[in-house]
């Protein structure tokens, strides 16, 4: 098991190299001179030349990439083109905000998504099933910048219960109050995914012979549902949840914008617009790492759910 984890962690290295390589070259080959974008359309030619020198844009591309990687190995992610503040500090500043939002979003998705999925599967084609699956379809299809605004109009503007934007500060209560609407917005999307995935995965299991056996043994329904059906249906659900969580950790850019949430997604999009290459790379390195770690955790969780997979890990496959 440890060997497996170690192997997976080592795999992170080529992932980071590949991702930074692609992003570095795309950012640099895209039209538009970072110096011109930073200084705006009122900059003089001398100022532009000065800025390019300052940013080290005059070196050949490969040399710059090599230097970047050299510094990255030492843990130095460089400083932002825009404000000269170390990239590390700015990314670390935003990371907890995004993480809180992602956890809250996934929590809401699981809290509602799994029970809805189970009920729908057990009462297939019933009114409840139809309603919840149509609702899930709507949930998946609604863009979250729109559902977010609707929630704001209801809960902030009309009812005045919750803050319309920003991240609360000064204690747990303000933070919790401010997180409800954005996490609900994100949760609705993921919840719908989780519900549909739970339903289809449960339906596969329900028809298995061992379920009939369990019912014939006279086991009570609750035990059959949780111990026999759900447990065997969990693998695809865990995969879906892992992917959703990875996406949320990557920063839910639109929801972050709608709710003025100071997260990683917004930072990255703003940085792409202003050609702040070190900042974009910094965000990407973090996102790729987090995504890989979430995937690793998902794989480890498989082992606990399914003994067959556990024994595979032990053999070192």
């Amino acid at each position: 098991m440890y060997k497996f984890v170690l192997k997976r962690l080592l795999q992170l290295i080529p992932v980071i190299i590949g991702v930074t390589f692609i992003v570095f070259f795309i950012m640099n080959l895209a039209p538009g001179d970072p110096a011109a974008i930073i200084l705006g359309d009122q900059a003089t030619a001398e100022a532009l030349a000065m800025k390019r020198e300052e940013l080290g844009l005059n070196d050949p591309l490969l040399v710059r990439y090599f230097n970047y990687m050299k510094n990255l190995l030492r843990g130095d992610m460089g400083t932002s083109y825009k404000n000269n503040i170390p990239v590390w500090n700015q990314v670390i500043d935003r990371l907890p905000n995004t993480a809180i939002l992602a956890v809250a979003g996934i929590f809401i998705a699981l809290l509602f998504g799994i029970p809805i999925g189970i009920l729908s599967a057990k009462k297939q084609y019933s009114l409840l099933d139809n309603i919840s699956m149509v609702a899930a379809l709507i949930g998946v299809s609604m863009p979250n910048f729109w559902s977010g605004l609707l929630l704001v109009m209801l809960f902030s503007l009309t009812l005045g219960w919750l803050p319309s934007q920003g991240m609360g500060s000064g204690g747990v209560i303000p933070v919790l109050r401010s997180i409800i609407l954005p996490s609900l917005t994100l949760g609705i999307n993921s919840m719908a995914m989780v519900a549909r995935m739970t339903r289809s995965s449960m339906l596969e299991v329900i028809r298995q012979d061992y379920i009939s056996t369990a019912q014939a043994k006279g086991l009570n329904d609750h035990v059959i549902t949780t111990q026999h059906m759900l447990r065997n249906a969990l693998i695809p659900i865990i995969t879906a949840v892992g992917l959703q969580f990875g996406h949320l950790l990557g920063g839910a850019m639109l929801a972050e914008t709608v709710f003025s949430w100071p997260g990683l997604g917004r930072l990255m999009v703003d940085s792409i617009k202003s050609r702040d290459i070190p900042m974009v790379l910094g965000c990407v390195v973090f996102m790729a790492t987090m995504f890989s770690i979430v995937n690793l955790i998902v794989d480890i969780v498989y082992a606990f759910v399914d003994p067959r997979i556990k024994s595979m890990y032990k053999k070192g496959n």
Binding site: P31, I37, I38, L39, A45, L48, P163, Q165, D270, R275
Partner: protein
């Protein structure tokens, strides 16, 4: 019965007491803007969202009163213009930085030298040749050449005075924890979320009226107006024009609006046919219905333009907005040798309102037989390509941040400024050059106004840029906000603003 009478009496008494105590003001004012501060270093962060915050923290030698557009002394209490090139500034004694140290001539020299060396803001102070410290409270500034807008340029917030000892000790720390001499001290910057400021007790002009300021970053325009309605914020900068009527109609809110110093215009590349032909350029100018564009696309916010500098700029002369006359435009085209029109490209960067503007202009030009394709480009690519002169026509916005005509005329119309510096029509006209040079080298205000009048008339004949409209700046406010005055650059001062409880 008795009980209820007593209750009414108590309520009445309480009401009387509260009115007798006079107006109560909140100790915190919160405003929202669309983007975060880029840099808190005033010699680095020249973008409006940054200056909206840093202009509360830092002062300049002289400043411009937003209400009257007049210069007034700030860190310098007076100045002598010794000759065309030499200015002597007398620093106000006893001005303190937020760390308690006194501001001296050394800090002024250090700050201006630092601004000159900064690629971001040097263009505003690079007319300065040397800054010399005479004594603790006197500084001499010598310019390269006679430069009329000297004082106005020194009033731009990018020429802020910073404490030498703090910056020299640890520049990285200064960028994160700026120390200035302005009305507010820096408390906290949570990136992407908010900046907190606190009134400076020892501010030379008296302590600011509201104790705390909070700037919140709210990127969505609709969210800014919602937060204003819910009372979460007191001021919302830059509301969307379609949210303005809602704010105006709400008795609990106030909409402030003033003309900005920004002009939106189309630059025609004079190096390319047929835009090298003056008749063609004039024809296109007659084909655009500017009032319709303002009314339809901007919901009446802003005004049609007749020059590339806005009416609020020193040196503006009104030649009259070009009338909309497609018939005349067709005649001019025929005279120029294009009776059937021609086709060309109009470039614009990927901003929805700019694209819409170009699409309507496209339709107007097609009325006179000029078939224009609107090409949308990403900002970086747009700037790079127009700098290289690859465009036929391109749609731009320009702000005369110094409030002085030279700032714009020199960059956009002087032959030495072709390409990156701003002249993207590639105009090279000796008469225009001569007028611009005369305007910038004169210290005599009346003489300068006369020069800029002649220049405006000349440019109106050349039509290398087609001015479309001047935008307005707006701020939505809670009706309880008192003492708020807008600045035409968007750098709204907040030290005299308070909010009723």
């Amino acid at each position: 019965m008795k009980k209820s009478v007593l209750f009414v009496l108590v309520v009445l008494m309480l009401a009387l007491i509260s009115t007798a105590a006079g107006a109560q003001y909140k100790d915190t004012l919160t405003w929202a803007q669309g983007s975060d501060v880029t840099s808190l270093d005033p010699h680095q962060g020249k973008e409006t969202p940054a200056v909206q915050v840093t202009s509360q923290i830092f002062d300049t030698l002289v400043a411009v009163d937003p209400a009257t557009n007049e210069l007034f002394p700030q860190i310098a209490e007076s100045w002598d213009i010794v000759d065309d090139l030499t200015y002597v500034f007398h620093i106000r004694q006893g001005i303190k930085f937020h760390d308690g140290t006194e501001l001296t001539a050394e800090d002024v020299k250090f700050s201006l030298d630092r601004a000159i060396a900064s690629s971001a803001v040097s263009y505003i102070v690079d007319f300065i040749d040397t800054v010399t410290v005479n004594d603790d409270y006197t500084v001499t500034i010598v310019t390269d050449a006679p430069y009329g807008p000297t004082l106005r340029n020194l009033a731009i917030p990018f020429a802020a005075i910073v404490p030498k000892h703090v910056v020299e000790a640890d520049e990285q720390n200064f960028i994160l924890n700026p120390v200035g001499s302005g009305p507010y001290t820096f408390v906290e910057w949570k990136q992407g979320d908010h900046v907190t400021l606190k009134a400076f007790d020892d501010y030379y002009a008296g302590k600011a009226l509201t104790e705390n300021l909070i700037m919140k970053v709210v990127p969505e325009t609709s969210q800014r107006s919602i937060a204003l309605e819910t009372g979460e914020i007191d001021l919302a900068y830059d509301l969307a024009v379609n949210d303005l009527p809602k704010v105006r109609d709400n008795a609990a809110l106030t909409a402030y609006e003033i003309p900005s110093l920004s002009c939106w215009y189309i630059s025609m590349n004079m190096n390319k046919a047929p835009f090298d032909n003056a008749l063609v350029r004039e024809a296109l100018s007659y084909a655009i219905d500017r009032q319709l564009l303002v009314d339809a696309l901007n919901m009446g916010s802003g005004q049609p333009a007749d020059a590339i500098i806005a009416p609020g700029v020193f040196g503006y002369y009104s030649t009259g907005v070009r009338e909309y006359n497609p018939e005349k435009a067709k005649e001019l085209l025929a005279e120029a040798g294009y009776p059937d029109g021609f086709s060309a490209k109009l470039w614009v960067n990927d901003n929805q309102s700019r694209i819409e503007m170009c699409q309507v202009i496209q339709a107007m030009l097609s009325e006179i037989g000029v078939e224009v394709s609107v090409d949308v480009m990403e900002f970086g690519a747009f700037i790079a390509a127009t700098t290289n002169g690859e465009h036929d026509m391109a749609y731009f916005g320009w702000t005369t941040s110094s409030g002085d005509a030279d700032y714009t005329y020199y960059s956009l119309e002087h032959s030495s400024q072709q390409g990156a510096a701003g002249n993207r029509t590639f105009i090279a006209d000796p008469d225009v050059d001569a007028l611009i040079e005369a305007g910038r080298s004169s210290n005599n205000a009346d003489e300068r106004l006369e020069i800029y009048k002649n220049l405006a008339i000349k440019l109106d004949e050349i039509n290398n840029n087609l001015p479309i409209f001047y935008s307005s700046l707006n701020v939505g406010a809670n009706a309880k906000v008192e003492g708020f005055v807008m600045d035409s650059n968007g750098y709204h001062p907040l030290n005299n603003v308070q909010v009723l409880q």
